[in-house]
Symmetry: C3
Subunit: 133 residues, 3 copies
């Protein structure tokens, strides 16, 4: 099964994987691409690319960190595992997303990009890619 491999560099990081994904799907047959993230502290988001990309991605990183503030006692039951906020932030994104494919190109909107959403980096992450007909 085709997959993407992504090395993340920060604890919380939206990594634009659009170019890597476009290259992978160019040779695949079908009309719907589904991404699945096999991790519990990373998800997937489709959000703004282009000139404003870094800024919007950074705003979303900051927002998810603020919504699930580490200062709050989220881990009311925890003993060993030390990063409940990483799991909770991931749960607010998605484990899968499906994007139409036409003539080997993702049918993204003109301002969209596909991001791996890392919440417990840096790590090496995988995204499974399935194409349906």
């Amino acid at each position: 099964m085709p997959e993407l491999t992504i090395q993340t560099e920060r604890k919380t990081q939206l990594v634009n994987v659009t170019a890597q994904l476009e290259e992978l799907v160019a040779s695949l047959e079908g009309f719907l691409v589904t991404l699945f993230v096999p991790h519990t502290t990373a998800g997937v988001l489709v959000q703004a690319a282009g000139d404003g990309a870094t800024k919007v991605a950074g705003d979303i990183e900051a927002a998810l960190e603020a919504l699930v503030d580490e200062a709050r006692p989220w881990a009311h039951l925890h003993e060993g595992d030390g990063n409940p906020w990483s799991h909770i932030r991931t749960a607010l994104t998605a484990s899968s997303v499906s994007i139409p494919l036409a003539d080997g190109r993702l049918k993204l909107g003109p301002r969209q990009a596909v991001f791996l959403a890392e919440f417990d980096g840096p790590r090496e992450r995988t995204v499974h890619v399935t194409v349906s007909r």
Copy 2:
């Protein structure tokens, strides 16, 4: 590729698109409908319709506005783009959703409806519709 076109009327608005979608899929072959929103300040949600529809949709609109309060300095890096909250609220919904199809009808639950979730309206929005076998 089939698509829906929706004219939104308010800045934050859950627009019930179920009837329009039912009409579109009635003539399509397959057993799984996938919606994809090609925008970065609008998403898709499946939520409560029926007599309580306006109320539940209104509660969700208010809740997403409250969770991502514009008074907070989300846009820590922003210079030009003025609506980080629109992107963040969208990231808390979904860019795609898949709904089973049987005999040309969406297999929604009895209380469910499909909503375009607008967070930077009013605008004209598109939803791509794919049917898989």
Copy 3:
């Protein structure tokens, strides 16, 4: 259409349905499993299983309850329906998720499990299961 039936036991409860789902898909042909929850106060999440499962699932339950605190006047328009928070918490999860399938096995990551996310239990819930080729 194949489906899971789940009896939930608490108001807010992440129920691990992985074993039940694995059993169901073992006999199905295809390479992508899509789950759809036909309810408006329950969703689906892929999150951490294993030794830490109860703890991480419990943290996510607590976090979604805290993010959408019942003490806050979410239901600004409500008259009859008394559980706006159940709908709002559901909207922060997902109504559908797609997971790759290979040789009749879900291609989950080693720490992942599939959860029905109940936000208005206890109830009997259904999850529709579709397999695409």
